[in-house]
Amino acid sequence: MSYIEFNHVVKEYATGGEAIRALDDASFAVEKGELAVILGASGAGKTTALNILGGMDTATAGQVLVDGRDVTRYTPRQLVGYRRTDIGFVFQFYNLVPNLTALENVELAAQICKDSLDAAETLRKVGLGHRMGNFPAQLSGGEQQRVSIARALAKNPKLLLCDEPTGALDYNTGKQILQLLQDTCRKEGITVLIITHNSALAPMADRVIRFKSGRVTDITCCDAPTPISQIEW
């Protein structure tokens, strides 16, 4: 019984007359504390799968088990709770609340969780101790992403889901972020899933899940993931 189980999940959009399948019977599993990387070209269904896993979207068919519980059967209310306590999401475009400072953004997430981490501490951990009072508009992309990560981390989630976290970042910043994610995974023991279309990142993961056309074409486990610092691309 894996920690995360994605079983034959189908996600269909019916617009107009045609039905478009973002996920077409995708299945994968991830163990607890693993760092999984989801690879695939654009439109492969990666984000969809992550969304469903993170309780942000519903599946048309299939089953998603997280820590033994079927997320697809959750009521919207249960999904909210699920999102609140179990999931930490990092978006490609950060999605920070522009009206709140970095610290407040993190607090926003922290304060709804029962056993959350200290927001300021988390920010310091991501290296933004000096930028706590700044608004997202005053932060660079990397800083924003770090805030976003801090926000996700502050929730002390079971899962940390990252949708192309370095997509809008440069090489070094991206590496830093990834490093952070990796460290978090290792140190805190949080299961981290990272979506990327950069296959060079595959070595950092414990598990690589490849998507193509809405299906999981490949799941590769790696025993000894490479530290990020060692990966060049």
Binding site: T48, G54, M56, T58, R84, L100
Partner: protein
């Protein structure tokens, strides 16, 4: 909770200010509208109620046709639930005002403060003779506090017999049976205070001017002692537990109705009967007393008359006596006067005579003296003369004698000769013949003596004559004598010749003679003759001598005599002188004596004159006295007669009065009580109806605003939610529940709404009432205007709006929050473009320029926006049309009312004193083209629900038709005819009373008589309410018909008609004269409230348009930011970008206007219907210009908004817009 979250909410608010404020403003306006109108009306009612409570206005008023007594008051007070009952008195009087007279109701002030007038200035009357007046009086007359006010009682005072002077004194009074009318105790008052009458808070101007509120123009207050009355005009009740209730509330109405029912059920009938009985009994008693009194008085009067008569008779007798005495006195006096006159005359005469005598005597004496002197002189002269004469005479005598001697000698000679001859002859005679001859001779001598005498005389005369000078006057004489003598001679000769004796003797002789002696005879004859003649001559001479001797003797004697005379004369003279002196002496003595006598006599006369004068004076006094006595008597007599006559009249009158009294008593109708509550006060009712109609208004506006608010908030929040779509997704991703997200937006909306609602509350409870207070002030005068707060509306209003807007917000959120976070974080799929209908017309479509095509597509792409803009603009236009239409409708009333409905130029009402005369005079006036007498009265109509409405009753005489005077038309515009049994009522009144024609209505006139009127049709009318009926109907209902007013069409120009009416009004017989022209001119002033409403509407419309357009535009822009940024990037100039957006806005505005114009018309008619002004039926007439104006205004607003949004457009940062997360 979650401070970060809360901070986000706060900052969201701060970050979306425009949207926030638009929500806030809409909420504020809506709440203000909602609560404001209600609050204003409630405040008015509250204020009125406060006034009524503080002035202790009655809750129930009872009036009776026969007046009310203390017993009635007690009976009413004893009722359960009645806290106070008090009677009040009022009386109607005239007072000079505005050039003529106005009618005033004068009421007494209550001791306990019931119906106490509210003091505005000065002080309430505290002493008799003081009066308090209302503002209207001061305005109309220009009087001020401290001035004198004169009241002219309406009915003449009770007829009272005048007590006459002197002895005659009777006094018969018969009081009226039946209710004694209250009467003013005095007529001159000093104005001490300006007050407000709680029973009539109408301020007299504006729209309520058309409501016929009462018969009187003014209301005055005096102390109870200034009105004499035995009964109360009305009894005012205050109920026990109503003070706490608002008098316009249902609870109050129920309470009052309850008590009213109690009165009607328990007391009314008994008290009516009691009063009737009481009056009957009193009347009976009064009549009896009066009758008794009358009898006594008559008896007494008769007695007095008898005495008076006696006195008069005595007086007359006395006077007559006096006259008689006076006459005697007069006679005496006259006599005395006569005597005196005579005496006077006599004395004068005497005096005169005496004087004259004395003078004469003196004169005489003088004359005597003169005479004596002259006599002496004369004597001397005479003596001289005499001497001379003697001498002459002697001479003459001598001459004469000489002559005579001569003559004699001659004659003797002759004779001798003759004798000789004779003897000779005789001797020859025969002795026989001798006796015959002797006879003959004797006869011849006898016959011829005269001849001889004559001849001798003639000779002597002739000698004398010759001795005279030629011019001696005696010649003539002598000549004449001579001639005479000649004649004598001739005669004598003739006689002698013819002497018979002679002849006889001759004959005898002759006979005796022989024949030859003829010649002898002749000779003898001649001898005889000669003898005779000589004889005669001798005798003649002898005679002459004798004569001469005689003469001489005589002459000598004469002379002697003369001498003797002269001697005598001398002696006399001596005597005379002696006498003269004696006489002189005597004269002086006598004169003195006489003078003395005369003087004495004068003195006596003077005394008697004085006496007489005194006597005259006494007489005059006596006369005067008698005359006075006569005058007095005459007066007394006249008085007596007058009094007798008066008495007779009075007696007859008194008898008549008694009879009338009896009749009246018999005619006395059963008492009728009228139990009224405050709704019978017109100002009270009109407050009720006005606030009701405004509140009805207050239903419409908030609906509009509510709808708009909901839509706006829906739009705004939808937009906001869409903008923050990603954020919502993030929240959801973070694990915030829907509740939190709803919460954020709800908080946003709540804050906006809440603040708006608070502002709206402030506006609604403060500003709006203040605004409405301005309007109400035009209609009502309430001293303190309270601002109240109603929990229901105060909280309900905001709650409603909050609910609405929050609901909209929730709705807006809902659609988004349904989606999964993932979907939210995905960009919203842009709406699919759709084809427009127009595209199916290729030939048209292809002709349109590209950008216009885009515009058209966009128009229909955003349907919600389309709908909302069109709705918003339509609403705005409609409101504007409504506002302007309202104004137009009101303005249209004027020609409609004053030219179509009222076709007359002048309405004149008489005071009732001599109306027919007034009407005749007017008919004859040159300025009047035609005149129609009518009867007018203000009557009350009673509706089914007890609602009362005052209307003007116009009764046309039989045969007269309202055609040409009133335009009576039904709703369809068809003319109505006035016929018997088919009275015509104005529609407005029917509406107010809940009455529909044909039917029957209860009418109550000013004398509180009620009757049922058959109303056949309803006529259209704009201002005021009237009931038209025929004379026959009126007579059947109320009795006598006398025209008291007239309608007139004038020939003079409209500009002069007002002056004409003013002139008429000043005349005493004219109670009122209204020129229709003047009404037209004053029309606009009466509709200030209308204008306020129009401004309000326009303001609202503007605000609405602005907010709607602004919100929609900004929403629109923010929605299409990428699109707009893109075209900017493509290279559109700013102006083109503006045009891109504004074209749509303008097109939508145009569509909105097209929808709004007819909508506005509907709104106008609805609004007019809702407003239902008191006694005014406003026709719906919207001018084309108003439509144009409304459309233009909306356009202008749209353009203004465009200008604002242009600035926003200019600030769209292309780069940022294109960078946004989508």
């Amino acid at each position: 909770m979650n401070t970060a979250y809360r901070k986000d909410v706060r900052r969201t608010i701060a970050g979306h200010k425009k949207r926030f404020f638009s929500l806030l403003i809409i909420a504020a306006l809506g709440v203000a509208m909602f609560t404001g109108l209600q609050a204003s009306c409630r405040d008015l009612r509250l204020s009125a109620d406060a006034l009524f409570d503080s002035q202790k206005l009655f809750d129930i008023r009872v009036q009776s046709t026969l007046g009310l007594t203390d017993a009635d008051v007690a009976a009413l007070a004893a009722l359960d639930g009645v806290a106070e009952a008090e009677g009040g008195v009022s009386v109607t009087a005239d007072t000079p005002a505005q050039g003529g007279t106005g009618k005033a109701e004068v009421r007494t002030l209550s001791d306990t403060g019931l119906n106490q007038p509210y003091l505005l200035e000065g002080s309430l009357p505290e002493q008799s003779g003081q009066i308090a007046v209302t503002q209207k009086y001061l305005d109309d007359t220009g009087a001020a506090l401290g001035d004198t006010l004169t009241l002219i009682p309406e009915e003449p005072e009770e007829e009272q017999e005048q007590p006459s002077a002197d002895e005659e004194d009777w006094d018969v009074q018969v009081e009226d049976t039946g209710a004694a009318e209250p009467a003013l105790a005095r007529t001159a008052f000093t104005i001490t205070g300006l007050v407000l009458d709680p029973m009539d808070v109408n301020s007299g101007g504006t729209a309520s001017a058309f409501r016929v509120s009462s018969n009187t123009d003014y209301t005055f207050f005096v102390l109870a002692q200034d009105i004499d009355s035995e009964v109360y005009t009305a009894v005012y009740l205050r109920l026990a537990d109503t003070a706490a209730l608002n008098c316009y509330s249902d609870a109050y109405d129920d309470r009052v109705a309850e008590i009213t029912r109690q009165i009607e059920d328990q007391i009314q009938a008994q008290r009516e009967q009691a009063r009737y009985d009481q009056l009957q009994a009193e009347g009976r008693q009064t009549l009896e007393d009066a009758r008794q009194e009358m009898q006594d008085e008559f008896a007494q009067a008769d007695e007095e008359f008898a005495d008076a008569e006696q006195e008069l008779t005595d007086a007359r007798a006395e006077l007559d006596e006096g006259w008689a005495e006076l006459e005697d006195a007069r006679a005496e006096l006259d006599e005395g006067w006569a005597q005196w006159q005579d005496g006077q005359a006599e004395l004068a005469e005497n005096e005169r005579t005496a004087e004259k005598g004395i003078n004469d005597a003196a004169a005489q004496l003088e004359e005597g003296r003169a005479q004596l002197q002259s006599a002496g002189q004369t004597l001397d002269d005479s003596q001289a003369q005499l001497d001379a004469s003697r001498a002459a005479a002697e001479r003459q005598l001598a001459d004469g004698q000489a002559r005579l001697d001569a003559g004699m000698a001659q004659a003797q000679a002759g004779l001798e000769s003759a004798q000789a001859a004779e003897s000779a002859a005789a001797g020859q005679l025969p002795g026989v013949l001798t006796p015959l001859w002797e006879a003959w001779k004797t006869a011849a001598i006898a016959a011829w003596s005269p001849v001889g005498e004559a001849t001798v005389q003639i000779e002597s005369l002739q000698t004398q004559l010759d001795a005279l000078a030629a011019d001696d006057p005696q010649r003539a004489d002598l000549q004449a004598q001579l001639d005479g003598l000649n004649d004598q001679l001739a005669q004598a000769m003739a006689a002698a010749q013819s002497d018979g004796a002679t002849a006889a003797a001759r004959q005898a002789f002759e006979d005796a003679m022989p024949a030859e002696t003829a010649e002898t005879a002749e000779q003898l004859a001649a001898l005889a003759q000669g003898l005779g003649t000589a004889q005669g001559a001798v005798s003649g001479m002898q005679a002459q001598q004798a004569a001469f001797d005689e003469q001489a003797a005589a002459a000598r004697a004469q002379l002697d005599a003369a001498q003797a005379q002269i001697d005598a004369g001398r002696a006399e003279l001596e005597e005379g002188w002696r006498q003269l002196n004696d006489g002189l002496a005597a004269l002086d003595e006598q004169a003195a004596e006489i003078r003395g006598q005369i003087a004495q006599g004068k003195t006596e006369l003077q005394d008697s004159l004085t006496e007489l004068q005194d006597g005259e004076a006494d007489y005059a006094d006596g006369l005067a006295e008698l005359q006075d006595g006569e005058t007095d008597y005459a007066d007394g007599l006249a008085e007596y007669q007058q009094n007798k006559q008066d008495y007779a009249e009075a007696r007859a009158e008194a008898e008549q009065q008694l009879a009338d009294g009896e009749a009246e008593l018999a005619d006395l109708e059963m008492t009728q009580w009228y139990v009224q509550d405050r709704t019978s006060l017109s100002s009270y009712s009109s407050i009720q109806s006005d606030t009701a109609s405004i509140e009805a208004l207050g239903v419409m506006f908030p609906i509009i605003f509510f709808t708009v608010a909901v839509l706006i908030s829906l739009t705004s929040v939808t937009r906001m939610v869409e903008e923050e779509r990603g954020l919502i997704g993030t929240y959801k991703a973070l694990g915030f529940g829907s509740g939190a997200i709803y919460g954020k937006y709800l908080t946003y909306a709540t804050t906006a709404c809440g603040l708006g609602a608070l502002a709206g509350e402030a506006g609604g409870y403060l500003l709006m009432p203040l605004f409405m207070r301005y309007i109400f002030r035009q209609m009502y005068t309430i001293p303190r205007y309270l601002l109240g707060f109603d929990i229901g509306f105060g909280l309900g209003g905001p709650a409603l709006f909050l609910a609405g807007m929050l609901g909209a917000t929730a709705l807006a959120c809902r659609s988004e929050l349904h989606q999964t976070p993932a979907a939210l974080m995905r960009p919203k799929s842009p709406r699919a473009g759709s084809r427009v209908l127009l595209e199916r017309i290729p030939w048209l479509w292809n002709r349109i320029r590209f950008l216009n095509k885009v515009t058209i597509r966009n128009l229909f792409r955003y349907k919600k926006r389309l709908a909302m803009t069109v709705f918003g603009i339509a609403g705005c236009t409609a409101l504007m049309v409504c506002g302007l239409g309202l104004h137009d409708s009101v303005v249209a009333m004027m020609p409609l009312q004053y030219e179509q409905y009222y076709q007359y130029d002048l309405l004149v009402a008489g005071t009732g004193e001599d109306d027919p005369a007034l009407l005749d005079r007017l008919a004859a006036d040159a300025a009047v083209e035609a005149i129609q007498p009518v009867y007018m009265e203000t009557v009350t109509l009673l509706g089914a629900d007890g609602h009362e409405e005052s209307v003007q009753l116009v009764v046309f005489p039989d045969g007269a038709s309202p055609e040409g005077w009133y335009g009576l038309v039904d709703a369809a515009g068809q003319p109505l005819t006035l016929a018997d049994g088919q009275a015509v009522l104005t529609r407005n009144a029917a509406q107010l009373l809940g009455f529909s024609a044909p039917g029957s209505l209860t009418v109550r006139d000013t004398q509180l008589r009620e009757a049922q009127v058959a109303v056949g049709a309803l006529t259209e009318n704009c201002l005021g309410n009237s009931l038209y009926m025929t004379e026959a109907d009126y007579q059947a209902l109320f009795g006598d018909y006398t025209p008291n007013a007239a309608l007139a069409r004038l020939t003079i120009d409209p500009e002069d008609q007002r002056a004409f009416a003013d002139g008429l009004r000043r005349e005493n017989e004219v109670a009122s004269a209204t020129s229709t022209q003047a009404l037209k001119e004053d029309f606009t002033q009466n509709f200030a409230m209308m204008n306020a409403v129009v401004y309000l509407l326009t303001g609202l419309a503007a605000g609405l348009a602005f907010v709607v357009l602004f919100t929609l535009s900004t929403t629109n822009i923010s929605e299409r930011q990428r699109e707009l940024a893109t075209i900017k990037v493509l290279g559109f100039f700013d102006r083109e970008v503006h045009a891109y957006v504004n074209k749509e806005t303008l097109l939508l505005t145009g569509m909105g206007i097209l929808v709004g114009l007819p909508g506005g018309r509907l709104l106008t008619s609805w609004l007019i219907g809702m407003l239902s002004l008191p006694a005014a039926q406003v026709p719906v007439a919207v001018q084309p210009a108003s439509y144009l104006l409304a459309a233009l205004a909306s356009l202008v607003f749209a353009l203004a908004v465009d200008l604002l949004t242009n600035r926003i457009l200019d600030h769209i940062d292309m780069v940022e817009a294109l960078k946004s997360v989508e």
